[in-house]
Amino acid sequence: MSDSTPQRNVIALLPEACTSCMVCVRECPSWCISLESHVEAVSEEGARRPRTVNVLDEFTIDYGLCMYCGICIETCPFDALAWRDSFDYSSGDRQGLRQDAVDLSRWWPTGS
């Protein structure tokens, strides 16, 4: 393990990479990830029919329930989740430990 390997401190989300496949949500043993998405049709030049893509609306991790097992990161088929070293996100109340897609994506650039 090199020194640059992030510790299990916070989970970062790269929303552009997330396909809303629900794999992490289903595999999480603590049931602390929730996700909402909708389907959009994308027409491409030359394609006979528009392609349908999932568009991520909301992605939340409840750190009050998360046990930092890393299963979500391991199972994501699109590498949209990763550990980051930051741990400065304590909160005085329960709701403050729920991080949405904006909160989670802010961690992404902070580490390796």
Binding site: S20, C21, M22, V25, R26, C28, W31, C32, I33, S34, L35, E36, S37, V39, N54
Partner: protein
């Protein structure tokens, strides 16, 4: 560095003798004690270590899963006290000859033994599973993983 410790199977009536024999060989500190429920069998397992050499032994004993009970080792290993309490609470195993086995986490009188494979996990049945939604519309999973159909039958 991974170190593997062989598991030694012990008969229930030799449990205390086997544990004290391990102590006589130098492994006289209880690292942990717990139970393992495989649905077919129920075992109590203890890991004892020699703090001087970091040598360790793992002793295991199969119990009657209907009426699980075994002699307590706390008279010889005071460090087993907390582990026996927890194992009693989570797996419903009676440790015989202890002074007291008061509850750690669960409400007094709740004998549901939540770590037994047969125990229905009410909270899991009642909490909406975040994985229920399907983005593809197809192949919607009816029950979350780990929730057995028989738990939900009389809802």
């Amino acid at each position: 560095m991974t170190q593997t410790t062989a598991i030694i199977d012990i008969a229930a009536d030799e449990w205390v003798a086997a544990c004290t024999a391990s102590a006589a060989r130098g492994c006289d500190v209880v690292d942990w004690l717990t139970a393992v429920d495989t649905l077919e069998s129920l075992f109590v397992v203890v890991h004892v270590v020699d703090p001087g050499s970091s040598r360790s032994e793992m002793l295991r004993c199969e119990l009657d899963s209907e009426r699980p009970e075994i002699e307590s080792i706390t008279s010889w290993f005071p460090g087993a006290d907390w582990h026996e309490r927890e194992t009693h609470e989570m797996f419903g195993i009676e440790f015989l000859g202890r002074s007291q086995t008061n509850a750690l986490l669960m409400r007094a009188g709740d004998a549901s033994s939540p770590m037994r494979k047969t125990a229905a996990l009410d909270a899991r049945v009642r909490t909406p599973w975040p994985g229920q939604e399907s983005t593809t519309g197809r192949r919607r999973q009816k029950l979350p993983p780990g929730v057995r159909a028989e738990w939900t039958r009389d809802e």
